[in-house]
């Protein structure tokens, strides 16, 4: 186990180098020039000024050299500074990252809240009306474009009911916790609903598989109550993989929050990312990609490790 963990952690290093290098090259392949954005504000477009600016951000070097410089800074925990605002990327993200994190955690909570009861019911009442309804909900949830639901809720709910309208400005958690949670509830619910589709299907199939196990038949034969069998024998074993599938959904969650933050004007990392791509703020784009990739890589490792801890039959070598 320890050797396996060590090997996985070691392999994560070249992976993260690869990911950041691909992103680094792609950012520079976006047509356009970040200095044009900066200088556009001042009306100055003299080649000398541009060259000086490029030199300041070492954009005049070749990409490989730039990457080495950037990576060196990152390894010293310095993410550089935003070309657009001039503030350090760390300080720019300090307020935005927690917002996205909170939104994601709330979305995971909602998705489990929806998915587990529906998936479990669907499995223990297989091929009944409840099962069909549950499965239809799951497939619908997978097909529903979250941004569309958000758009409709904002207008329709605002028009006909007095709720669902996002407030004019963002309410920080530290100032007004209740107002903040109430504000994020709707976007988190939409994100969570989209996520719940695959969790629901996974829960159902895991439950069905476990229900057919010999020890469940034994439990029935012993004359245990259905409730006891489902809760004590089936759920305890079936829900292990469900825990892990949630971890694998993280990339989808991040992508979803980019869109939903845009729809609901939430000042999180996803919205900042879109702004940065549009203004070609290289250091910010690279930093956000690095953060998300790191989270994804470690979530994958964590999923595999938890899996083996929760299920003693699984042994990695």
């Amino acid at each position: 186990m320890q050797r396996y963990l060590a090997r996985r952690l070691l392999l994560a290093i070249p992976t993260l180098f690869g990911v950041t290098f691909v992103v680094f090259l792609l950012v520079r392949a976006v047509p356009g020039d970040v200095t044009a954005y900066l200088l556009g504000d001042y009306g100055a477009s003299s080649p000398e000024v541009k060259a000086a600016l490029k030199k300041e951000y070492s954009l005049d070097q070749n990409p490989a050299k730039q990457y080495v410089i950037w990576m060196g800074d990152v390894l010293r925990l310095d993410l550089g500074e935003s070309i657009i605002s001039g503030r350090t990327v760390t300080s720019e993200l300090r307020n935005r990252l927690p917002v996205t994190l909170q939104l994601s955690l709330m979305a995971i909570f909602f998705s489990l809240f929806i998915a587990l009861p529906v998936g479990i019911t669907s499995a223990i009442r297989q091929d009944t009306a409840a099962d069909y309804i549950g499965r239809s909900i799951a497939i619908s949830a997978l097909a529903l474009p979250g941004f569309w639901v958000g758009l409709l809720l904002i207008t329709m709910a605002g028009r006909y009911f007095a709720w669902g309208v996002p407030p004019k400005s963002y309410i920080p958690l530290t100032e007004n916790p209740l107002g903040n949670v109430r504000m994020l509830a709707m976007p988190a619910l939409i994100l969570g609903a989209a996520l719940s589709g695959s969790v629901m299907r996974f829960t159902r199939s895991a439950m069905l598989e476990t229900l057919r196990q010999d020890y469940v038949r034994t439990a029935w034969a012993k004359g245990l109550r259905e409730r006891t069998i489902i809760v004590r024998h089936v759920m305890r074993n079936a829900l292990i993989p469900v825990v892990t599938v949630v971890g694998l959904q993280l990339p989808i969650l991040v992508g979803g929050s980019v869109i939903i933050e845009q729809v609901y004007s939430i000042p999180g990392m996803g919205r900042y990312y879109i702004t940065s791509v549009n203004s070609l703020d290289y250091p910010v784009i690279q930093a956000i990609n690095l953060i998300v990739a790191t989270v994804v890589v470690f979530a994958n490792i964590a999923v595999d490790v938890t899996y083996s801890i929760l299920d003693p039959r699984i042994r990695y070598s």
């Binding site: 690869g18 097909a143 474009p145 207008t155 990312y273 998300v292």
Partner: protein, 310 residues
Amino acid sequence: MALDAEILEQYALRLQASRASRFRRSVFSFIRHKPLAAFGGFVVILLIVMAVAPWLFTTHDPDLNMLSQRKLGPSGANWFGTDQFGRDLYTRIVYGARTSVVIGFGVVFVSAAIATTLGVVSGYFGGVFDILVQRLVDIGISLPGLIFIILLVTSLQEVPGLGWKIPVLWRIILGLGFLVSLGSSRIIRGATISTRQNQYVEAARITGASDGRIIVRHLLPNVFPVIIISASIQIGGAILTEASLSFLGYGIQPPTASWGRMLNEAREELVKSPHLAIFPGLAIFFAVFSFNMFGDGLRDVLDPRLRGSR
């Protein structure tokens, strides 16, 4: 001799007929046992016809601006109303099917081609090549989803070094296809490794079959269901991703009709003309729902592990 040939010919004809009827029978049994999946399949076929010949379904010119009739609500003349330029929204949505269908199938085709090549070759030969490919796949599946695709679609606007422009539709198909392929190449690699251990592969090798022949004749037919299953599940996701990209403004550009793009343009008009948002969103939902339903049914039929259960 002449008689033998005649008998053989008749036999071949009968075989052909029975094959056709077997196909028909399996279609009917699919409809009977998987009504929802069959419905999904029906919508899928409808969408494909719409993509090929949209004019069969419409009454208006998709690009005709009728500026005097902008943003009208649904009516007898304009079933879904009209858009910001006075174009018939129903007609625009029918024409938008082409974008989604082309993206969906294009992505899956690119992905299946890359994933099969990588997966089968990597799984069959193993060794250093396998290790190298698997590290590349590691990088690929760690690229952060939509965030990365946005970058991919905005950046590679021309072939590096050659200066050929790549239209955004192709950027989405190739970029998304490549990204999706890496994940499924893992699955195909696994299937290849487990098939390779069969005795008939060993037997084929002993009789002197070349690697190419073993891959094409013995491995591919067995890995094929895995390819079809992962492809059918990916189509809906690809359509949804295009819609998200176009909604954010990075995808299909006007005047090409795209459902996601329509939603993007509807944002400004939401309060006064909600129909501009309702119908394109419904179209996305229906298309993805149908592809998923159909893919699900297909998986149930093709996946040997699920056969017999349900």
